[in-house]
């Protein structure tokens, strides 16, 4: 027999003005199993809570119903009070007789009757409540950062500086990402390498950071605080401990004509190479696809010249398994591929290049040592056209979003061009100039006013070559849409920023969701911008959406704080209102039949497979199991389960069934 206490709150006059609280307390006090009932002016006040606590002790209550405001308001208050009085907090329920009753109905008997009904429902529900304990999950205080661009670097350093271990995985032979390819950065025009490389070195030297370059994440298992990750370290064909990074091998390699990815095809590199001079780690890798030895079976020039005998042709990929408590995704973005723009001749005409290629041309360490030269004949372009929104904001091309960074870098390109080619004429075709940001609008103004860049508002319809010139045809919509043709020497397309190659596969590997453009999805667009729907996995930088450097860094620091907060306790405490699959004595084990139709409804991948084995270790049954660390308690699986093998604490089948019965049968 239950001993339930009912506490009806007047909320000053907020409730009692339309509900007869004394009557509610009296009538509900007569319900079966109610041991004590009372009404009080302000239940949430200190005396009100004291009243509650003392009643629990005095009447040895085993369940409490507070009829007051919305549980969304004061449920935590009263559950805490119960806990302080020694009653399990999950044996306390609230009836919402203010927002759902007194405030929305007039003063009459029906309103009081409704309040009684609402209390009765909770009295019956609380009889089915179970004492629950918070779920404790241990936390491995090591973070995995996937991606070594500026976002990954920032996140790794911030976490490491909080005193936690960080494992960084980078796909390329060096960290640095796209930022290391940039020439100068808007709006201050400081040199990208100059501000980035100290950070890269800091990562390499930080005692808390372990760096795996030329590596990829293959498998992620587990859940918040307890991930198990397999990392494939691709073979560099090199003993990194022996290599001193002298670079002799890279100068002697007979293969010299491989398009250099770092220069975006504007330069060449050998088969054994360091991607760029400031690379971290500054040790070469052998590109096996292009290495003469791996193709033809002989060469080995690098091995011969290596002073420390560090070359290892037979080195194999290595799989490293690590345990981490949190993951930061910072895998960045990519730009559109050439075949996207047949009308712009990108990929067809050598002098139609993309923004990243222009960055390399403008970079002092680039293929032209910072001189603006056109790729076809090396001449200095005297007339140059920049096309903003090349692909972006174009529903016909399937990219409806704004790539956000192009307005600014295009203004920067025009400015850099003008600084380097004084007698040159830059044109910018644009749709809108989106220069929201500190000093951004001023920067664009400078490009237009001081550097005399011709901004033409309109889209380019086509670009074609004629007599050695690139004819750029568009319309000037501010001049009444008149057609405009420019005979340019070079064209730079501000190609749309798109999700990185392999983003979809990675999202599936780490179990995070992604949007229709394959950018990783945040848990809430406003209030949880660096969290994902998978607890313990966070986002930093342009893997989420196109972002500029300051935004990427801010997001990275945000993600790092989330990781640090997670790591601030040895154990994670979670609300126990989670789903569970029932257990029964052998040989049934559970009424779950293992159809796993519930698996795909779970937004959190919390439903796992559990194999029941006999003494010989043979699997005799495979059951679903809810991982308490991942379950967020939505209960969609509960409603789906045909055998009612899954139930959920707090909203159990027994509880909701009883609520309906109580509500409709007075």
């Amino acid at each position: 027999m239950s001993r339930i206490g009912v506490f009806v709150c007047h909320c000053g006059e907020n409730i009692s003005a339309t509900v007869n609280c004394e009557k509610v307390a009296k009538i509900t006090g007569e319900l079966k199993g109610v041991e004590f009932s009372t009404d009080y002016k302000y239940m949430c006040s200190d005396p009100g809570q004291t009243l509650l606590k003392e009643a629990i002790k005095e009447h040895k209550l085993d369940g409490v119903v507070v009829a007051a405001c919305s549980p969304r308001m004061h449920e935590p208050t009263f559950r805490k009070a119960c806990a302080e009085a020694g009653l399990n907090p999950f044996l306390c329920e609230m009836s919402n007789i203010r927002e759902h009753c007194s405030w929305v109905h007039p003063k009459d008997d029906l309103t009081t009757e409704k309040a009684q009904d609402l209390v009765r429902v909770m009295v019956e529900k609380v009889k089915k409540n179970k004492a629950l304990n918070s779920i404790k999950v241990p936390v491995t205080k090591t973070a995995l950062v996937i991606g070594g661009g500026i976002a990954g670097i920032q996140a790794a350093l911030d976490i490491a500086n909080c005193g936690h271990k960080v494992i960084m995985v980078e796909k390329q032979p060096s960290i640095g990402g796209h930022m290391s390819q940039l020439s100068e950065t808007f709006p201050t025009l400081d040199c990208s390498q100059c501000i980035l490389t100290p950070r890269m070195v800091e990562v390499a030297q930080h005692p808390n950071i372990t760096l795996h370059t030329y590596s990829e994440v293959e498998v992620v298992d587990g859940f918040i605080g307890n991930f198990k990750v397999k990392i494939r370290k691709k073979s560099k064909s090199l003993d990194e401990h022996l290599c001193t990074g002298c670079g002799l091998c890279t100068t002697k390699c007979p293969q010299k004509k491989i398009p250099n990815e770092f220069e975006r095809g504007l330069g060449f590199r050998p088969a054994i190479y360091v991607p760029f001079p400031q690379a971290v780690p500054n040790k070469p890798v052998i590109d096996r696809e292009n290495c003469t030895y791996y193709i033809k079976g002989k060469c080995k020039v690098c091995e011969i010249v290596c002073p420390t005998k560090a070359i290892r042709f037979d080195q194999e990929d290595e799989i490293v398994e690590v345990a981490v408590g949190a993951i930061v995704l910072a895998t960045g973005f990519d730009v559109l591929q050439p075949d996207f723009f047949p009308e712009y001749g990108y990929g067809k005409y050598k002098d139609v290049i993309d923004g990243l290629q222009f960055e390399r041309l403008a970079s002092a360490s680039g293929p032209t040592q910072g001189q603006i030269r056109r790729p076809s004949d090396g001449k200095e372009p005297k007339k140059i056209v920049f096309v903003a929104c090349a692909g972006s904001r174009d529903p016909a091309k399937g990219i409806e979003y704004c790539s956000k960074i192009c307005c600014m870098y295009t203004a920067k390109h025009a400015m850099l061009y003008k600084h380097k080619v004084h007698d040159g004429t830059p044109y910018v075709f644009y749709m809108d100039i989106r220069a929201g940001g500190k000093m951004y609008e001023e920067f664009v103004r400078r490009t237009i006013v001081e550097d005399g860049t011709h901004y033409v508002r309109g889209r380019v319809s086509t670009i074609y070559e004629k007599n050695g010139k690139l004819i750029v045809r568009g319309a000037d919509t501010l001049m009444g849409g008149i057609p405009i043709e420019i005979e340019a020497d070079m064209v730079v397309l501000a190609t749309a920023g798109v999700a990185n190659k392999g983003a979809e596969e990675l999202a599936q590997t780490v179990h995070v969701s992604y949007d229709s453009y394959k950018f990783f999805a945040e848990a809430h667009p406003k209030l949880k911008p660096v969290e994902t729907n998978t607890a313990g996995i966070f986002l930093a930088g342009a893997c989420q959406a196109p972002k500029d450097i300051p935004e990427s860094v801010a997001a990275a620091s945000g993600a790092a704080v989330k990781v640090a907060a997670l790591f601030s306790n040895d154990e994670l405490t979670r609300d126990p209102l989670v789903a569970l699959v029932n257990r029964q004595p052998a040989p049934v084990f559970s009424t779950c039949v293992g159809c796993f139709l519930c698996q795909s409804v779970c937004p959190y991948q919390a439903i796992e497979r559990e194999e029941i084995k006999n003494r010989n270790g043979e699997v005799i049954k495979t059951l679903a199991r809810v991982n308490e660390g991942l379950c967020q308690g939505c209960g969609t699986c509960v409603a789906l389960c045909r055998t009612k093998a899954i139930d959920i604490h707090g909203y159990s089948n027994q509880q909701v069934y009883t609520e309906i019965m109580a509500l409709l049968n007075d």
Binding site: A396, T462, K466
Partner: protein, 305 residues
Amino acid sequence: MKVGFYPGCSMKGGAREYQESVSALAKVFDIELVEIPDWNCCGATAAHNLNKELSLSLPARIMALAEREGISDIVVPCAACYNRLSIVKHELEADKSLSTRVASIIDLKYEGTTQILNIIQFIDKYITDRLEEKVVKPFDYKAACYYGCLLVRPHSILKFDRVEDPQSMDVLVKKAGGDAIDWAYKTECCGAGMSVSRTDTVARLSGNIMKDAVDRAAEVVVVACPMCHSNLDMRRPEINKFLNEKIDIPILYISQVLGLAVGLDAKTLGLNRHMTEVNLPVKPVREIPVAKEPKKVVNTQKLEA
């Protein structure tokens, strides 16, 4: 093989050679073109400027008639007619109540089951596979394929291969043995219906098209639209006056190009009907790479004007 055929007004008038060449080509490939009985005007530009229901009902009636005849595919060689029919089909598909309304106006059952094919889609569906084996006189010329607007736009409805830089006519010309050049005016405006009212505008727009083609050494411009054809062909004196040049390269329909390649004679294809004389230079014979039995070698490519 039977395919429905909608000629529209131009096939019966200014572009008779287009119909003649399409029919001749179809015959070579054993395709029977069934003219839709009692067909009417597609409404052209006029109807949809005046009355929405009229502009929907005219093409709907054509398609309804085809349905009644059990025709599943209609080839519509005129790009303007093709455009109207396709857009109406799309609009009626998207709005069932409109479709019901239109059916009551035309007093015919309209299901929207017929496929509307432009000339290129028609060739791709029924001819391309067998084209190369039938080529006896490779069309060995530098050809500028001009698509114009009505064939390719709006892209969201017509879904032509690449809206800004279409390719499919180039592919056909190449299959016929030609050299489809890369040029810049594939989809630029020819001046269209301004032909009569503003001949000067047409001279300028079509002039730019012809100039670029000739500058890139095109020997012929290939089209798939009677309107484009008339502007580039019939307005040649005005074009030449505007350009202050003498451009004399011919404008051929894609059906004529393929017709020549499969060995049809000039008269059958109606080449004599063009305003600008079709005077393609005779080229030295190129060996046709044929795997099976060697084809008859033709020494001269004689064109009767």
